[in-house]
Amino acid sequence: MVGEEYRGTKQWSRNKQAVFTVLWISFLCAAVGTMVFFALFDPADIGGAFDEDLTLDRDAGYAAGFFFFWIFSLACSAITAFLVRTAPRRDAAHRDSPD
């Protein structure tokens, strides 16, 4: 737990930064995506697109849409973060500033 004994903000480890940033930013993107998507499409109409007999009640439709967007953007940002952070270091001897 953070914060009981602390003065000022603890330094987060790089992994913690990545996990929470990816979670949070994909959450925000999913929120915007859901909003725009459902402003244009009614979840009650969408069920039929997959299966003619499928009727989705709206509450479930919104939730499903939101989690679809969240998982989608989560995967997208997680993979990006992973690639950025695990890129092989090349030619280390010629790097101008070691970090």
Binding site: V2, E4, G8, T9, Q17, T21, L40, R58
Partner: protein, 457 residues
């Protein structure tokens, strides 16, 4: 000369931890917290015209904003509104820096509320530290337990209120009391409540430092005329400890007594005296801290203060600068167009869907028929009568509906209609217009185009 014996404020300084600094800005931020949270918790309970004044009724796909009802078809308004909101953020950031962060961001506001509950149950920072170090005892359980109780209850109430913006809150309240809340409602209330609990109870300004995109972007909107919180280096340096009786000028010192109080109160643990840093959330705690020291020392306040980079360099601050004028002009145009389009909005929506299953039908008497589904939405709050007609091809007329159609206030009427044209006039694909006209003095009218298919010669 500096005194080796520190003045009294150095000792007490150790006991001060973030946010226990009272002062002008702390009061202001409390006021902002109370106002904004008050609005959040009260607004869903307000009624207007026998219904919830502000309700984003997702199950019914209608947004009620006081007297206005918005439909999914009004999406352009929402888009325009969001653009305006984003642009306003740019505008205010360029003008006043991170005033938003210090006083209006939900993150700040809820954190403030959670800290208040923490102090209520566990006492001041030093008491809290002692409590944490102490072995488990009845007192510790009681204090920790009541903090968690307050936090969890408050979070749940927050989640409940949040859901109350999307489903009628009064019915929700009844369901809560009678334990008949539906699964999704529970889910969203707990979800939002938990996010509040985590973000405001535990993560706090770490959200600002590590997770907030605005915090990283905002420096791009800053310029030398932006209002920032800054330490007045010219006046403060060289820093040094001294007794109250010592005249700093004689001692060759600036006004900063190097008590580091401004660092100790800083929730993000930065030293404002090192200059503007992106971790600074402009909470103004360091201003309060420094002012209190200046008061004790009998120096003028404002060694740390709201100012601009230009002012710090003894230059003129320009509030009206090109950037502000461009942002301002754009904002005005957008707000103006939002208001005008809202004002001239006709509260009727007409949707025409052509039956996709058939091209056309040939009827006896040399008539060609196309089938459509008409959706007529009456966005006003009262029932109204409409006349539906069609034009665009010679002799085209509708069959299967009466002369007038009645649509209840705020509802949708979906009717199948048949449009007929004599074979001599129907060739290939023709553009036609459906017209819905309100039969009252308003003269409201909506035109929607569609296609009429006839035989290809």
């Amino acid at each position: 000369m500096t005194d080796p014996q520190p003045a009294s404020m150095y000792e007490s300084a150790k006991k001060i931890y973030p946010r226990e600094m009272g002062g002008r800005f702390a009061d202001l931020s409390k006021l902002a917290t109370v106002t904004l949270l008050g609005l959040f918790y009260i607004v869903p309970w307000l009624t207007w015209d026998d219904r919830q004044a502000i309700l984003f009724d997702l199950p019914a796909r209608k947004f009620y904003l006081i007297g206005l009802t918005l439909w999914p078809q009004d999406f352009p308004f929402l888009a325009l509104f969001l653009i305006i909101a984003a642009l306003s953020l740019f505008f205010f950031t360029a003008l006043a820096g991170r005033l938003w962060c210090g006083f209006a961001c939900p993150q700040t506001v809820w954190t403030e509320a959670f800290i208040w509950m923490e102090q209520l149950t566990e006492g001041t920072r030093s008491q809290r530290m002692k409590l944490d170090k102490a072995p488990w005892s009845w007192n510790k359980i009681r204090r920790k337990g009541s903090k968690q109780f307050l936090w969890v209850t408050f979070s749940l109430w927050t989640g409940f209120t949040f859901v109350g913006f999307f489903t009628p809150i009064r019915e929700l309240g009844v369901e809560f009391v009678t334990f008949s809340v539906g699964g999704w409602t529970w889910f969203w209330a707990v979800f939002y409540g938990f996010a509040t609990y985590g973000n405001a109870g535990y993560m706090r300004e770490q959200v600002c430092i590590y997770m907030c995109p605005y915090a990283r972007f905002q420096s791009a909107m800053f310029d030398k005329d932006t209002l920032i919180i800054s330490y007045d280096e010219k006046r403060g340096d060289p820093r040094g400890r001294r007794k109250r009786s010592v005249d700093p000028k004689e001692a060759g010192l600036g006004d900063c007594i190097d008590c580091t109080l401004c660092v100790q109160v800083c929730p993000t643990d930065i030293d404002i005296r090192d200059g503007l840093q992106y971790e600074c959330i402009a909470c103004a705690a360091c201003i309060d801290a420094c002012d209190s020291v200046m008061d004790k020392m009998n120096y003028p306040r404002g060694l740390v203060r709201y100012t601009t980079e230009h002012a710090m360099q003894n230059e003129q601050t320009h509030v009206l600068r090109p950037r502000m004028m461009v942002y301002g002009a754009l904002l005005m145009v957008l707000i103006g167009s939002l208001i005008t389009t809202m004002a001239i909005r006709t509260p009727i929506i007409l949707d025409v869907i052509r039956d996709r299953n058939s091209l056309y039908r040939e009827l006896p008497g040399d008539m060609i028929e196309n089938i459509y589904t008409i959706k007529l939405i009456n966005q006003s709050n009262n029932a109204r009568e409409f006349k539906l007609s069609v034009e665009g091809v010679e002799g085209i007329h509708l069959d299967g509906i009466g002369n007038t159609i009645l649509v209840d206030g705020g509802s949708v009427l979906s009717v199948p209609v048949r449009a007929r044209v004599h074979r001599d006039n129907a060739f290939g694909v023709m553009k036609i217009d459906f017209i819905a006209e309100a039969l009252d003095e308003s003269g409201h009218k909506r035109v929607e185009d569609s296609r009429f298919l006839g035989p290809t010669p």
